[in-house]
Symmetry: C2
Subunit: 144 residues, 2 copies
DNA sequence: GTAATTTAGTTGATATATCAACTTTATATG
DNA sequence: CATATAAAGTTGATATATCAACTAAATTAC
């Protein structure tokens, strides 16, 4: 009855995302010394959706708002993002890429696209759709 | 061109494993106060393969041997595992479940089986095979 | 309009993962 | 056999994630 983790679907899912993260991080490291996969993810997200608040960002990337605060602080400290206070709600911040951030963004986005297409090489559109559908069922099952 | 993480396959993979882990942890917490998903994973692995060394365990669960050391130490501290020195190689340890550990194991294994079957409910054998195959291609692609 | 509640974000304590340096034992090489 | 190298496991420093408690601003309710 015992199965090596290798044969277990959940282990494989875990492994897949870890391999992809490692691979993606390696690619980022070629161009940056101070950006992690998670930072890149929220950086691109914020740049494309400047209206999101940190709670919402957290929900989208499936992390706590406390973690979001800290990732944003790192992006700010490293000069990629700047914060200003929201005009009508002074509890919030407006997050915008700095000039350095804008340049980095372009680069990041092209690296991300390349990463994704390498990781999905040889996997047909149909298989990708199929994968998504199955994962969505799985997610739903875990939330009963 | 920008896609919300939701539509991106890698995000979905990440999300799926996080949801499963959260779900699994909740189930563990009903029966135990001191066992994490990762600890359960290596505990079952060790119990079924007492001959593995910590480096190998790490490779199988995709973690550093340093992390394995610390997880084993927790399992030991909480009374689930006992260590004795390997007869022929004194650098190694033999890891065996304690009596408490044996009882916990049975319980854990049945929880794990239940968790998996709930998470996979409604997903056909064929879809599961398909998922595995696709993830394996993805893993291979990340290792070029 | 003031008090109570909610919301946005931060911070401290804690847990766990990793890396690199280390100890101890085993093995290989001359 | 002595020494060099490799292997098993540990440990300290560091990074990041989470939880819960917190501050400050906004909203609701009286």
């Amino acid at each position: 009855m015992f199965k090596l983790p290798n044969e277990v679907i959940f282990y494989l899912i875990e492994r897949a995302i870890k391999e992809y993260r490692q691979f993606a991080q390696k690619q980022f490291n070629k161009a940056f010394t101070d950006i992690t996969v998670d930072q890149a993810m929220i950086f691109v997200l914020i740049a494309n959706n400047p209206n999101l608040n940190q709670e919402e960002i957290g929900q989208i990337v499936f992390k706590e708002k406390a973690s979001v605060t800290r990732m944003i602080e790192l992006l700010r400290k490293n000069g990629y993002l700047k914060r200003s206070i929201h005009e009508t709600d002074r509890r919030r911040f407006i997050l915008l890429p700095t000039d350095k951030g804008e340049i980095a963004l372009e680069n990041l986005i092209s690296i991300i696209e390349k990463n994704r297409s390498i990781a999905l090489e040889g996997i047909s559109e149909e298989d990708q759709m199929h994968l998504k559908t199955t994962l969505q069922s799985l997610i739903k099952n875990c939330n009963q």
